[in-house]
């Protein structure tokens, strides 16, 4: 399908309350034509509710949803013409694989010969050619996932919704399917909204990520921007590991507990700021004095060998514990050993000061 056939989605002021619990709070969201957008958030954040509203299964209290030019907020689910992959796949157990995939085609009055051909094409696309006659219970979890995908795209919907489609698979298969789904999206180019609570999955697959919490979108941006420049503490803590240390900014520069630091950019506001530290951006230095790098003295509290890396926890001069992910080939430091941690100026990021308390 051509990319220009995909439809953009525009969500405005979408709100839903269950009693006093506000599940979605006036959400605005734009999904570009052909974009892969992930709704990422903890359970209960409202991400699934938002997806279900796009599919038409949950009725919002108010708001607007447009697919392209068309307002669909009051449109029944079976008239929305969006593909959807359910968390538990929802493959019909009383039909074989081919009948499952043919189901949407049959409902659209497509002839037998064309149906047969398109079913086989869809099966080829998900690399399960020749599986048409299998029963659903004969399939493995990964195969069911592919069939559910084939069924969702066989009628060439212009929007594809996915509700944690990989959460039931084991880790290896999940990582494999992430790449495969991403490649498939690049081939088909349909506007895709993907729900997950797995931040790594979101980072791997998405063009953009919308981080949702308590019914609000806390940040929407590319994976790189979300990871490296989180808009607030929630996003920073939800995505990747992070530690925050309090630093002071004055006219001269920035300092942590009396130790001067060089920042990537000087903030305009003076006073105390939160400096975000990612474990993999810290290095364990051989010598205290290294040019062009910020040095933080610390005491090792734990050092754990993890195969691909060594996780070191160390307390800084103010007692704050930070995590450091060091190369596995490096020497594993001893507990209570005095070490020096290096942080490049380019890797420093001060959290924006939030205007209102979250």
């Amino acid at each position: 399908m051509a990319r220009d056939a995909a439809l953009p989605i525009a969500v405005r002021q979408l709100t839903k309350s269950y009693g006093t619990l506000r599940v979605l709070d006036a959400v605005d969201l734009d999904v570009q034509r052909g974009e892969f957008l992930t709704l990422l958030g903890p359970s209960g954040s409202g991400k699934t509710t938002l997806l279900m509203m796009l599919a038409g299964f949950v009725r919002p209290d108010c708001g607007s949803i447009r697919f392209g030019e068309r307002e669909v907020i009051r449109l029944a689910p079976h008239k929305r013409d969006v593909g959807m992959v359910f968390q538990n796949y929802a493959l019909f157990p009383h039909m074989d694989v081919a009948a499952n995939i043919a189901f949407p085609l049959k409902l659209r009055g497509i002839g037998k010969a064309e149906t047969k051909q398109r079913v086989e094409q869809a099966l080829e696309l998900v690399k399960l050619g020749g599986y048409g006659a299998r029963r659903i219970y004969q399939l493995s979890g990964g195969q069911r996932q592919r069939i559910a995908l084939a069924r969702a795209i066989v009628f060439e919907p212009r929007i594809l919704l996915m509700d944690e489609p990989l959460s039931a698979l084991d880790k290896q298969l999940r990582e494999h399917m992430q790449i495969e789904l991403r490649q498939l999206h690049e081939r088909l180019g349909m506007t895709t909204v993907y729900v997950t609570h797995d931040q790594r999955e979101a980072l791997t697959m998405s063009d953009r990520i919308a981080v949702i919490d308590l019914g609000r979108i806390r940040q929407i941006d590319t994976p790189k921007a979300i990871y490296e420049r989180p808009a607030n503490r929630f996003v920073a803590e939800f995505i990747g590991e992070s530690t925050f240390i309090t630093v002071d900014v004055d006219a001269v520069g920035c300092s942590f507990n009396g130790v001067p630091l060089t920042l990537a950019s000087q903030p305009s506001r003076k006073g105390s700021h939160q400096l975000m530290i990612r474990p993999e951006r810290l290095t364990i230095l051989e010598h205290a004095a290294t040019a062009g790098i910020n040095v933080l003295p610390a005491t090792v509290t734990a050092a754990i060998y993890q195969g691909d890396s060594v996780l070191v926890q160390a307390s800084l001069s103010d007692g704050k514990i930070v995590s450091v992910r060091a190369s596995a080939s490096a020497r594993v430091p001893l507990v209570r050993e005095e070490i020096y941690l290096g942080l490049k100026a380019a890797d420093t990021y001060l959290l924006p000061v939030e205007e209102r308390a979250a």
């Binding site: 689910p77 019909f92 009383h94």
Partner: protein, 296 residues
């Protein structure tokens, strides 16, 4: 070293055997009871059906069934009544079970108690209660005429109508229970998926919900049908002597003619016919397909 002679092998084998013995002994009393009250008498009746009055082997009881039209009539009316009762129970019970399955579980549980309520009184009491309601001067005819719905008393009892009304009432819970249980177990995501793929609610019902609820429907229909085949009290009381089902015929043979052989042969034929129906139904609807594919 072979594993039979391995470390502790003997003791472990003995433990396994002991566990199996305990399990078997738990089912012992029930097995004994069924043998005493079921297998022995049935076997004895089976034996009796092949004996003539003098005690010699004969097929006269079975031959009589073929020759005398009253026996054929009894079988025909039995199957007719069972079939109609089952059909109406499906028509009444399926929508009821569906409505219940869509309610919140707590509310549905309360409603299920209401469905089960008739079981709290004996079948005989309920049957006589219908007699009170349905007779010429009964509650329904009195009110129907008072309200001007009909002019002269309707013949609601002492005939096929009364028998059917009573049997449907008694059988309905046996239909609702398995259908409801099956419908409850149908994941709602199947219906969402059907809608998402373009099926209107009506089409989603016919293409997805009905086929998935079929195992429960078949189980309920079989249960109702087979229980109907052996009905005695309701046709006897509400049929007014005009409805002779096989069970009533058996009673007559024993009480009136004291012909145990004839009664036994009826029982044997009904037993075999029921077996054939069960077998045919199980072949017709491959229940295992649905059941093993039910999980996500």
């Amino acid at each position: 070293m072979s594993h039979e002679a391995g470390l502790n092998a003997k003791g472990l084998r003995r433990d396994a055997l002991a566990e199996r013995l305990i399990l078997f002994s738990l089912s012992g009393p029930a097995v004994l009871l069924v043998t005493m009250t079921m297998l022995v008498p049935v076997g004895w009746l089976f034996w009796l059906s092949f004996l003539d009055d003098a005690g010699g082997f004969s097929l006269e009881h079975y031959q009589r069934m073929l020759v005398q039209p009253s026996y054929g009539r009894a079988f025909r009316i039995t199957f007719e009544i069972s079939f109609i009762t089952t059909a109406i129970c499906i028509l009444l019970g399926y929508p009821l079970a569906y409505a219940l399955s869509q309610l919140p579980r707590r509310v549905a549980n309360i409603c299920m108690i209401a469905v089960m309520l008739p079981f709290w009184t004996s079948l005989l009491v309920r049957t006589y209660a219908w007699l009170v309601l349905l007779q010429r001067q009964g509650l329904i005819n009195t009110w129907g005429i008072k309200l001007g719905l009909w002019d002269s008393p309707l013949a609601l009892v002492h005939n096929l109508n009364g028998t059917l009304i009573g049997m449907i009432h008694i059988m309905l819970p046996f239909m609702v229970l398995p259908v409801y249980a099956t419908m409850r177990s149908i994941d709602r995501d199947y219906l969402k998926a059907a809608a998402n793929l373009g099926a209107s609610p009506t089409l989603a019902f016919w293409l997805v919900f009905l086929p998935l609820s079929l195992p429960g429907l078949v189980a309920g229909a079989l249960m109702v049908f087979i229980l109907c085949l052996g009905f005695y009290v309701t046709p006897a009381v509400l049929g007014g002597g005009k409805i002779t089902m096989v069970a009533n015929r058996i009673a007559t043979d024993i009480e009136l003619f004291f012909n145990w052989g004839a009664a036994s042969s009826l029982g044997v034929v009904l037993f075999i016919l029921t077996g054939i129906i069960l077998y045919a139904a199980s072949r017709l609807v491959r229940l295992d397909r649905f059941l093993s594919g039910g999980g996500a």
